[in-house]
Structure formats: structure tokens, C-alpha cells
Amino acid sequence: MIMITVENLVKAYKDVRALDGLTLRVPHGVVYGFLGPNGAGKSTTILSLLGLVFPQEGRIELLGEEVFRDGKFNEGNLVKAKARIGYMPEHATLWEFLTPMQTLDIIGRAFRIPKAEREKRAEEILKLVNLWEVRNKKVGKFSKGMRQRLLLAQALINDPELLILDEPMTGLDPTGIAEFKEIIREQRKAGKTVFFSSHILAHVEEVCDTVGVIVKGRLILEDSIENIKREFLKKAGYTIIIETNRPVDWSSAPWSVTPLGENRYRVVSPEDIREELHDYVASQGAKILTMQVKEPTLEEIFLKLVK
């Protein structure tokens, strides 16, 4: 099943066109990283999915239910879909005067989960997100990281098939991020689908099966991380930095070479040319002392794409 289908979605706030014909598809069982710079339209997309903002054009399907078309939400289908979705908003506060237990209880009621089951789930989840110790403390006294965990916890109370998380890891310390990623992996193992947005690549890199990159309200790329890297290498080429024992004359070389100072050169080529490079340098009567192949980091790819 396709869990999220978005077609030609357009959303304008007064004069800002936040979504400009966005199309994307999230299949069942994947962890989908929704990447984009600040202001790209990530939150707008997510809010549109849940009927929290009103797009002007396009179509949205959630878990097979058509929830939006021709500028209108279908409230009935939306409520049905929302019952199977967990959503964690970007910087929201929860009710400060409630404890985590009370928070999960009232949210569990929104899904009409029976009391006994509510309590059982609340315990499981609070243990999972490491808030069990403070389950009876008022949220008003929580640190940012604790609030963030509770925001995740409230998204899990209905055991959702689809998790939609808006920048879930901002504000967490490295341990928190690692735990978060672990939770996401466990969700996938349990057969759930996770859609989460981020502008930080490190958050996406180890957990996502698929990455979608949104820039200025349009999806400019959607693929697995490996494919993205491979494609990028093809386009941008390999960058190899070598150091030789003496100066080399590059005038008859077929590659573009930039000298970097004392017997150091940067060679760029569309293919892997390490062997050819050795031969060429040897033919010039020199030797390679060190060779370094630069893999593009996701950061570089991202920066290139966003430009």
C-alpha cells in the first residue's frame, strides 16, 4: 500500500508560495527522510497532510483514503486516516499543567482507547522514550529534550501505522538522537512507516531508506541514499588528490587537473581513474606518494542541489 500520496500540491500563504506543485509518494514500510533547507515547505507539507492548513490545489491520499482534492478536505476520511497516524509537530508545547501520564491519557481518549489499554500503552511508551521516571511530574518543569520525548510519546499512543514527524531530533543531545534513531528503526522493524522531516543530514543518514529533497516547495529528488550518492558521483565526478615525489607535467593528461601547491594536485574525472593516474604519473617519470579519493558527503550533495 502507498501510505502517503501527494499530487501537485499547491499552498500559498498570502503572498508566499510555500508549496509549488509538490508530488511525492511514500510506500508502506519505509523510513522516508524529507529533507530541505529552512523555509523549503517541509512543515507546510506535513500540516497539509493532517488538514491543519488548507492547500489550494492538488490531491492527498493517506493510507488509501482520499483526504483532499479540488481544494477541499474530506473530513470523514481525514478523521479515519488520522486514527491510524501519529504526528509529532515542530516546536509545540504540550499542556504544561499535566504530567506525562495525564497527557498520554487525555490523548488516548481522543482515539477512544479503553482505559486499561491506555494505561498499558502509556507505560510501554514512557519507558521507551525514557520518561517513565518522571511520569508524574508536571510538563511545565521539563527540559527541552524531555518535552521532545513526550512529543514523540504522544504520537505513539495509538500504535500508528504511519508516523509523521516534523524535525523530531532538533534540540536533542547526541544520546537523545541515537535513542531516537533506535526508536525509528524499531518502528520500521514492526512494519510501520515513518515520514520525517529534517534539514540536518546527519539525522537522516543512518535511518532512512528513501530521501526526498524539497526546495522552494517542489520535490527535486527522491531516491535511496546510495543511489543519490552514486548519481551524484556520476554527475560531479571523482575528485582525487595526489601528492607526487616531483613535479608532473599534465599537459597530455585527459583529465582536468588543478595544482594545489608543492607537488600536490587535484584531479577530477567522471570515472574512477586511480589506475590510469598511476600509469600517467609513472610515464612522466614520477611516483605517487599519497592518494586520496574524496567521496561526496551528503552535505555537499545537498548544498549543490539546493543551489
Binding site: 500563504y13 493532517l50 492548513v53 488548507f54 473530513e75 478523521v79 479515519k80 488520522k82 509545540a92 499543567f97
Partner: protein
């Protein structure tokens, strides 16, 4: 809808909103009882007259402001905090949420005013008034106050859905309250005074005013509240004679007889209905807007 109600009711209880309302009312009432005790008012009709005067001035003013402010922060503050995005991402509809929320506030104010009724009765007994005959009136008075508050809350909801910033909406709410509570009633009364027919009896004057207020102030909860309470007294015309320098003169005079809040509500049924209908209209406008707005 029930979930929105549960949530709002729980908030009302836990944030001590209810107790704030109650404390304000009691704080306002204590001096009144003290004064009554000092003045040695033990007659129940005099006592209820004092309570009515107090309600239509001080209590209406403070509770009205409180109600419109509660309403004015109801939606936009939740958008600012983000709690509404959490709430509406759950398996609930927008319509159910806003109506549930409103009902929650209705119950909180209702409970506060119910408790107020008991406090009033206790206070009167402490003063030394026998309350058996005016118990119903004390409750009716608070029912009227509740209806008025509910209309102010609904007006607040409109402000809350049209003004994005909760800070700004507070200012707007106070402005709107001033306009509805003071400015427009003053203008309407002034206009009415200019066209007032001569030789009206007290009852006729009261009816005339009520008519004017119904026509030109139907949208102001406080104006409707005061026009209803104006009818608690029945004015009887009596011809009196007086002897001045051996000559007898006759003149018209009125005796005001307390006829009860029940009578006032029957006589001003249109205005009571206006309180309810306009509340629904205001709530309808706010809901219409809420169903269309971006919650970010």
C-alpha cells in the same frame, strides 16, 4: 465533540480557571455583604434589590471582561502554543473540537456561577436575611449572568479566530468590551432621549427603553442583561394629594414593587431570547472561521 469538552473541562479545573472566576466573584461580593450588614438590611426584597443592582453593575463588568478575555485567547493562544495542532492531529473533527471546547467553558462558568449562587445565599443568611422567598431569584440572576457571559465568550471566540496574535487579541477584546458595554449603550440612550415621547408612565418608559435596546443593541449582551433586569420591579401609579398653604394639590407618583426575576424574564422574553440567539450567531461566525483557518 465530547473529547474537546473533556479536554477543556480538565484544563478549566487544572489551570484553576474555575477557581479564579469564583474567587473574583466572591472577592466582589464580600464587601457587599459587609455593607448590607452595616446598613442593617434584613428585608429580603431590599436584599435582592441590592444583589441585582450589584450584579448589573460590578459583577457584570468584571465577569464580562473575564469572559471576553477567556474567549479571545481560546483559539489563537493554542495556535501559538501548538497544542491545537496536537489535538487536531488526533481522531477528531474541527467542528467537534471547537464546540466541545466551548461547552467545556460553558460548564466551567456554569459551575462557577452555581457556586456563586450558594455563596450569595450563605452570605445573605449571614447578613440576617431570610432567603426562602428569594432563593429562586438568586439562581435566576446567576442564570442570566451565565447567559450574558456565554455571549461574551462567543464574541471572544470571534476575536480569537480573526486576530492571530493572542497579545493583540487581548487589546481588541478590551476595546470591543468597551464599545459594547459603554460606548454604544450611551449613544443609543442619548438618541433615545432626544425622541422620547412625553407623559410616559414608568412602565411605559421601561417598555420604550426595552424596545429601543432590542432594536439597536440586540448584539450587546450587557445591554440585554440590564434591560431584562430593569423589569424586576412593577411600577404602580398612585395619585397623591398634598396640602400646601391650605390648598390641596394632586400629583402622580409611583410605587415600585418587586415582582421578581421570573417576571422580568417573562416580560422581556425577547431579550432573553436575544441573549441565546446572538450567542449562537457569534459562535456560528467563530466556527465558520475556525473551519477555514490555517492552524499555524
Amino acid at each position: 465533540m465530547f473529547w474537546g469538552f473533556q479536554l477543556e473541562f480538565m484544563k478549566g479545573m487544572r489551570t484553576k480557571k474555575l477557581w479564579a472566576v469564583l474567587l473574583i466573584i466572591i472577592g466582589l461580593y464580600i464587601p457587599v455583604f459587609y455593607l448590607m450588614k452595616q446598613e442593617d438590611i434584613t428585608n429580603e426584597l431590599e436584599a435582592i434589590a441590592v444583589m441585582i443592582r450589584f450584579s448589573s453593575q460590578t459583577a457584570l463588568f468584571f465577569l464580562g471582561i473575564l469572559a471576553i478575555i477567556f474567549g479571545a485567547g481560546a483559539i489563537n493562544k493554542e495556535i501559538e502554543d501548538g497544542t491545537i495542532r496536537i489535538a487536531l492531529s488526533k481522531s477528531v473533527t474541527r467542528l467537534g473540537y471547537i464546540l466541545g471546547k466551548y461547552s467545556g467553558q460553558l460548564v466551567v462558568f456554569g459551575v462557577a456561577l452555581l457556586l456563586t449562587s450558594f455563596v450569595t445565599l450563605a452570605g445573605l443568611q449571614w447578613v440576617g436575611v431570610s432567603v426562602s422567598k428569594i432563593t429562586a431569584d438568586v439562581f435566576l440572576l446567576n442564570v442570566l449572568l451565565l447567559l450574558t457571559m456565554l455571549e461574551f465568550i462567543a464574541i471572544g471566540y470571534i476575536i480569537s479566530t480573526f486576530v492571530r496574535s493572542s497579545g493583540a487579541s487581548l487589546g481588541v477584546a478590551l476595546g470591543v468590551f468597551f464599545i459594547l458595554y459603554v460606548l454604544l449603550p450611551t449613544v443609543v440612550s442619548y438618541e433615545m432621549g432626544k425622541n422620547l415621547p412625553e407623559n410616559l408612565s414608568m412602565e411605559e418608559l421601561n417598555d420604550y427603553t426595552a424596545n429601543y435596546y432590542t432594536k439597536y443593541l440586540f448584539y450587546s449582551p450587557s445591554a440585554q442583561f440590564s434591560v431584562i433586569l430593569d423589569a424586576v420591579n412593577e411600577y404602580k401609579e398612585v395619585t397623591k394629594t398634598i396640602e400646601i398653604n391650605g390648598e390641596t394639590h394632586t400629583y402622580r407618583d409611583y410605587t415600585a414593587e418587586y415582582a421578581g426575576i421570573g417576571r422580568a424574564m417573562r416580560k422581556r422574553a425577547v431579550n432573553v431570547a436575544l441573549l441565546v440567539v446572538m450567542t449562537l450567531v457569534y459562535l456560528g461566525i467563530a466556527t465558520w472561521r475556525f473551519l477555514r483557518m490555517d492552524l499555524r
